[in-house]
């Protein structure tokens, strides 16, 4: 390549960490409650993958025409002469593994991609705990060591939120990326998934830029439910045509002129193919997938990702 890309000292990453405001934490709880309630209602009369080995009775609600009569509480009908159905939810049997990409490319964007991924993870974990699942958070710290934090009760959510707030992206290179967690000498996710006796759900949050789809399939394939949360920065969605692009992981620069209108058009085509490739991969292998901008609120895309 004969462009003017060069490696040199670069500016610090704009969004290397995570910060949860009290308002944000309140939103996590509200989101989890709303989605959990919706799940409980939907559980009535339907078989959902979310349900595990047992069902936990949580209450009654009036019967709606068309619902499965097997859910009807006949004793209550006889006593009150009004139809009610039993509301149940999955018991504590399910375990979730939440994996976060902390590579350098997650430290960009305003708001940052790592911030957005951490918010999505926190909201998902809140939901999981609300649904009675045990949750284990997995990431790689800046020194390259694998870090995990597991909780089983909703009361321990603070512990996970603190761990998320302590996240920092890696300074350079691809270390801390999803690929390194899925395959390679430090790949820990496959062992975690197996050791937990078969995690019911695996949630991965990152930009998936350097993740091999086949390795993902090899590692996480099976009966478990896999959710792929793909976050890109606003600039990655709509890159400017008059700037120097800087690769956060390699330090490589692309001259400003390479981003002219025609070049940007080509980029958009390639980005569309890249995202569509992940979406198609997810559909084919019964995975959930959502791609969003780090500027989007998690309430917009997370319900679809967690279905």
């Amino acid at each position: 390549m004969t462009d003017d890309s060069r490696r040199s000292r670069r500016a610090p990453l704009p969004s290397p960490g995570v910060e949860f405001s009290p308002e944000l934490i309140r939103r996590f709880g509200a989101f989890a409650s709303r989605l959990a309630n919706a799940r409980e209602n939907e559980d009535v009369g339907t078989k959902r993958a979310l349900r595990g080995e047992g069902q936990e009775f949580v209450g009654h609600r009036p019967y709606r025409p068309g619902e499965d009569l097997r859910q009807l509480d006949w004793q209550l009908l006889a006593r009150l002469d009004r139809p009610f159905v039993r509301i149940q939810r999955s018991s504590v049997s399910e375990s979730w593994v939440v994996v976060l990409d902390t590579s350098a490319s997650m430290g960009i964007g305003e708001p940052g991609k790592l911030q957005s991924a951490a918010e999505a993870a926190a909201a998902s974990i809140s939901l999981g705990l609300r649904l009675g699942a045990s949750v284990k958070l997995v990431w790689m710290d800046p020194s390259g060591d694998l870090r995990t934090v597991g909780v089983r009760r909703a009361s321990e959510l603070r512990k996970l939120l603190a761990a998320l707030e302590a996240l920092r992206v890696h300074g350079d290179g691809h270390s801390g990326g999803l690929e390194a967690l899925l395959e390679g000498p430090k790949a820990a996710v496959p062992d975690l998934v197996r050791r937990e006796g078969g995690a019911g759900r695996v949630l991965l949050f990152g930009d998936f830029i350097d993740v091999d789809r086949l390795s993902l399939l090899r590692t996480l394939g099976g009966r478990r439910r896999v959710h792929l949360g793909q976050v890109l920065s606003p600039e990655e969605w709509r890159p400017s045509s008059s700037v120097t692009w800087l690769n956060p992981e390699t330090g490589e620069r692309r001259s400003a002129t390479s981003g002219d209108a025609e070049g940007v058009g080509e980029y958009h085509q390639r980005l569309d193919r890249f995202l569509e490739g992940w979406a198609a991969h997810a559909r084919t292998h019964a995975m959930a997938h959502a791609a969003w901008s780090s500027a989007d609120p998690f309430e917009r895309y997370l319900p679809e990702l967690l279905r």
Binding site: R10, L13, L232, E235, W245, P248, R253, R254, S258, L271
Partner: protein, 458 residues
Amino acid sequence: MMVLAYALGPTMGLVFLEPVALIGLVAPFVLLALGLRRQESREVYLGTTRLLSAQEAGEAGARKRSLPAWLVAAAIATALGVLALAKPGYEGAPPQGVVVELVVDQSPSMYLPLQAQGAATPATRRIDAAWEAFGRWADGHEADITGGVYVTTGAGDPVPWQDVPVPDEPETAAPEVLWQAHDAASTVWITDRGVDDQDRGSAGLFASGGEAIPGPVSVGAQGEIYWKADGTSEFREVSGQGQGQAGVVRLDPDVPRVLRDLAGVWADVRGMRLEMSEGAGDEPELWVGMASTGAPPEPSPGTGGTGSTSVRVGRDGWEADVSLSGSEGAAPRLGDGWGPWLLDPAGQALVTMAPGQVELGFADFQGQPSDEAAFAVSWIGLFDRARLSPNRVVEPSERRAAGSAVAIPPSEPAVLEAPGAAALRDQQAERAAALRALLAGAAALAGLVALVLLVLRK
């Protein structure tokens, strides 16, 4: 295009009337430089740069440095706007020259010599010396402005100053000029003695100065009163043929009796000899007669249409009835040196005067005037003004020394435009306005294009 061709037609003499605004031309260059610098310096992290790799490789380094079109359009708009603000216009045609209004003192002192008799230099009149001083300034000013100095002495068109002759001495003594009435930036006063600065604000002043000039201040039959330079005077008997003769006042026998009596007293006081028209033929210093030619004056309203009529007239504080009848009612002369002194209620001249002459257009007075004293002073004043100055007789105030010469140019002579300059200026103003409108319109259009490009870019 027609507007452009019209505006740029006469490119000769195109100037910027507000050249300071041209500093603003730096702005578009700064804008472009900042754009280039920003383009070079702004770095944005992009995790998806690998999506560019194949494309970049395909371009094989065909790099070019370009500015966004909106920025270029904005720079053009700024440049055009600055040019419009600098007000392009045209240099006007050079003026033909300047015009000054000359106010010339023609009092008797102006015609006295600059120096007393006996000086080594030839006698030069004060008016000639002052005129020459004005001429020296005019010569120099013409060289400075590469144009002419033109003068007006009244309501006429300006003429080159060289074409204006030194005014002749009036036949009757002219009064001093009321200078304050002529104090203007384009006015030049020509006199013999310096005017008080309190009276002169912006007018130019060329004064000859001059020594005190001894000489007669009154002449009678037996001799003359001689004024000396030290301010004293003495009576000198004169002898010899033609010397010491008193001046003559000649009256028409038909002049009303009251005026004949008044003229007699006046002549006696002045040491003059009163003659009726039948008298010997000495050239009189004053002639008072009846109008005998021309159409009779129109009767005033209310005075009757035929026969003897009576009208009420007056001036200087007196009033009297006069009769108009027969040939005595002919109109006195007017014009050609004759001016009105007394008018009837309809505005017709009843008494006119010229140097050395007074002519009456009424037959007689009817009854006594309302104020006899005012009547006498008024008519004596007329006789004094009309009387020809006797040779060599000048009032003492005119004979006094006039001090040193003064030469103060006018502060702001009026500009005299060349013929056709006004039309050319109007045409140039139209073209300049069209050019400015064109620039402003183009700037607005470029600004709009820049805005649209910027919006489309986002």
